[in-house]
Symmetry: C2
Subunit: 382 residues, 2 copies
């Protein structure tokens, strides 16, 4: 199967290299912007790809959401399979492209858009067909995991951890999408779309790691707790889905605590399959390209869709998922929380709450911050 590429950045270069060696796959043309054209295997005219009858599949790996969508759409309309590694694009246009691909009888896969090197979405799409996916969760952002691990194991401050992550190329100059939880939220939205046929775009809750301090880590680390930023989605008893991102404190022998540096973890819990955890590299050219290649091998053998035939945008309902929370707050805000344990250090209070609904906890934190005060919270894993 001849495979063309749109984009020749870190991921594109790795995909091209792997296509040259993979069984039954060959690289086609690579679309680049005119200023990046360097060799005849590249083209600056997308029609060279669209009009090449031998090119059966197009890999889209560019960052611009709108352009990525246009390229993907045009390829599908020409009856070519599309594989995308762009979580941001698929989180917006996934359902539309899924519909178009199915109409045209071609594939639309995006394994690398969630979990980097790990075939999470493929596993979820299979589980949807033969099991019941109860929940999917994980450490889906390598940058924040690197920072949390540095704070825990090396005693770094938040600022130092961020600085090193930037120096190592894990974090962007503007790290907002990572540290605010936007990136892992997009990934869990995709996982929900695959597992349940619902892309949750409303009612989401997102808490990143920006409020975490070294003093917090120094408080819970001696108690055997390790903080990880967790994205989680699942199905409520009434059939609606929930989806959110928030810090979680795990006991030391949880698999999440073995996820060091910038690695990722994904955990699915299904009725029959039970719990299945994957740990792997969440980003990087070669690992991400590996997942693109897995998609292409799947397409070659006939596996064409992660999303079910009926996949639509919907709302998350996070009012039914409840956790105990670790909360650090000012005295003024103490009464907001049903505390089961309280510790005071100067004017800082740290609580373990009774179970609170996810949506309620995030709203309480927003209310406190709206009044100019600080709060940190993390769910306490059972």
């Amino acid at each position: 199967m001849k495979v063309a590429l749109v984009g020749y950045g870190t991921v594109g270069k790795s995909v091209y290299k792997m296509l040259e060696k993979a069984e039954g796959l060959t690289p086609g043309k690579v679309l680049v912007l005119p200023e990046f054209y360097t060799a005849p295997f590249q083209t600056t005219d997308y029609n060279d790809i669209l009009n090449d009858a031998e090119t059966e599949a197009v890999v889209e790996c560019i960052t611009d959401i709108k352009c990525g969508y246009e390229y993907a759409k045009a390829a599908l309309e020409k009856g070519k399979h599309v594989v995308s590694s762009s979580k941001a694009m698929v989180a917006v246009y996934g359902p539309e492209l899924n519909k178009l691909a199915r109409e045209k009888g071609v594939a639309f896969l995006f394994g690398a858009a969630c979990g980097g090197s790990m075939p999470i979405l493929f596993a979820l799409s299979q589980s949807r067909q033969m099991d019941e996916v109860q929940s999917v969760s994980g450490i889906l952002n390598g940058t924040t995991n690197y920072m949390l691990d540095s704070m825990q194991r090396k005693g770094c401050t938040y600022e130092d951890a961020l600085k090193v992550a930037q120096e190592l190329g894990y974090a962007e100059a503007d790290p907002t999408a990572d540290v605010s939880g936007q990136d892992p939220l997009r990934k869990i939205m995709l996982a929900c779309a695959v597992a349940y046929g619902v892309l949750p775009v409303d009612g989401l809750n997102r808490e990143g790691i920006e409020s975490l301090t070294a003093a917090d880590v120094n408080h819970f680390a001696p108690k055997g707790k390790v903080c990880r930023l967790i994205a989680k989605g699942g199905k409520n008893d009434d059939g609606s889905v929930y989806a959110y991102v928030e810090p979680v404190l795990f006991p030391k022998n949880a698999p999440e605590c073995s996820v060091l540096d910038n690695n990722n973890l994904a955990k699915s819990v299904c009725k029959y399959n039970g719990s299945l955890v994957m740990i792997g590299q969440g980003a990087g050219g070669d690992p991400t390209a590996s997942n693109v290649l897995r998609d292409l091998i799947n397409i070659k053998t006939g596996y064409c869709h992660f999303l079910p035939a009926k996949c639509e945008e919907g709302a998350a309902h996070n009012e039914n998922d409840v956790h105990r929370y670790y909360v650090r707050a000012d005295e003024k805000d103490l009464a907001l929380f049903p505390a089961e344990e309280v510790e005071q250090t100067g004017d800082v209070y740290r609580l373990i709450t009774a179970p609170i609904a996810v949506s309620k906890m995030h709203q309480l934190a927003a209310d406190i911050r709206a009044e100019g005060r600080k709060v940190f919270f993390a769910a306490v894993a059972e």
Copy 2:
């Protein structure tokens, strides 16, 4: 796709139940022995399955190796896909059945034969096609993991841990296949066959957990080391494969240490994909059936073979894989080992050795035991 079953034990019952709900799959007849016939969906005559043109696939989930092989072979010869959950059968007849399936243009998959609920073999078969599998390893036996975890976390003796495992149904009345490492060795043989096209049947090394004592655990646990029984296979620089089973001591934040009770772990290391770890249930009706169902969904979409077209029996070459070892031995045997550290407690010596080849270490232990003396060893994970 209509799917018949051979066998209606723990796995067969779960497969049947899942087939009734799975998308695009329906259960056919179930072959049982006359004394177990209870209902009309069962049959005692295999011809009812072989001669049913609508039955496209047969799931073989019985324990008898020779019978399982005969049933699988007959189904393939009739042009029906075969899925087997029997590691013992596939470890003997896999290459032959793979050849036959390819000649007949049908599928032969056996995902549940290695890793219980985890789609390890599928992932490896994909990696073989588009990456370079450097090694595959893991905790592939739930019984021994339960015992090791009980000894470590609950301070049980070996005998108590085995007794509880038997009471819980994790261990057989005769636990030899588990505690001697035979079961995980079969699984790693299958993983090598999938990853490299070589089913290693000679030159294997196998050390179980039978020599481990509570005193050993009491010695290394305070040093932050956790013992797991690891099966490992990989490719040597000269292209030959290695394959063996032995206890390994891990540092506490290794993913292996988060594998508690009777859970399993599998880790593949590939050139591009990097390290990919899966943790899940290694046995049990529903988890194992989940992997059978994954195989069936793969077949339905066209993914037919884990083993490459050329897959043959071969030999393992374990003389190039080297580790430091933790060794507990008598004074008389000390000189056999290149010791880097020695601790003495009464007449018991505990060493950390310089790197020793796997085949050499296993031979040394065999030599010591041949003279009637005791020894325990475990590789030290870096």
